[in-house]
């Protein structure tokens, strides 16, 4: 029997909406964040590269699973459960 992976809501920031046809919220499935990002990239090609660099989450992209920054809960290994929601926000950062 195939193991079903949860499909969850993902909040897309303004700057990545060109990849989703302007949609603010999309769905993807995966049992870990890595799988979720891979599925997101299958559905919206190019998205993966905006989120990952050398197989890791980009330093200046913040990804939140529910209310937690995924960096504190395993990054790409974070486990996804049915009913979770994911929020992607580019960091607001800079330097002189």
């Amino acid at each position: 029997m195939a193991v079903s992976t949860p499909e969850i809501d993902i909040r897309i920031p303004t700057i990545l909406r060109p990849y989703t046809g302007g949609e603010k919220s999309v769905q993807a499935s995966g049992s870990t964040l890595a799988e979720l990002v891979a599925d997101l990239d299958r559905r919206f090609p190019g998205m993966g590269e905006r989120l990952l660099e050398d197989g890791k989450l980009r330093r200046f992209i913040n990804v939140y699973l529910n209310d937690e920054d995924v960096r504190f809960i395993g990054s790409l290994d974070a486990l996804i459960s049915s009913g979770d929601n994911l929020t992607i926000l580019p960091a607001v950062a800079g330097g002189s």
Binding site: P13, T14, I15, F60, N62, Y64, D67, D69, R71, T87, L89, P90, A91, V92, A93, G94, G95, S96
Partner: protein, 136 residues
């Protein structure tokens, strides 16, 4: 053009001076579709650095959720430069991700602080364009 009240200009300077020599950062938000800044929210600079700023990630999540709930948007994203002029640096331009916001910079460098250098830019697709500021 950025149109902003004197009250918010003063608030940004006060925040920048209070955090000097570290960079200060924050936003002024306003009702969606109006372009008018109406609410000042100072943000914590998680980098706590004289040469770098980064919004604290959890504080930032709360900010964006709050904006959604209130149907508000980021009108102004500001930060201070503490030893250079109020012009976007290469890193400022590389990381800018809100094409609809006015990126405001102030300088707290001693020689410039008295000059009230308050400048606003649009940063879109890696290009920063300065725009006029009208203080109401």
């Amino acid at each position: 053009m950025l149109s902003i009240s004197q009250e918010f200009v003063d608030a940004i300077y006060a925040h920048a001076r209070a955090d000097h020599p570290d960079e200060a950062c924050g936003v002024i938000v306003g009702p969606a579709g109006t372009g008018i800044p109406t609410r000042h929210i100072p943000m914590r600079n998680a980098a706590m650095s004289p040469t770098f700023y980064e919004f604290d990630s959890i504080e930032m999540l709360k900010l964006y959720r709050d904006l959604d709930d209130r149907d508000e948007v980021l009108v102004v994203i500001y930060h201070s430069h503490t030893s250079t002029q109020a012009h976007p640096s290469r890193t400022d331009i590389a990381y800018a991700s809100e094409p609809d916001a006015h990126y405001v910079l102030v300088s707290t460098r001693e020689e410039l602080a008295g000059a009230n250098e308050f400048r606003s830019f649009r940063i879109v697709d890696g290009v920063a364009t300065e725009e006029p500021v009208q203080i109401r």
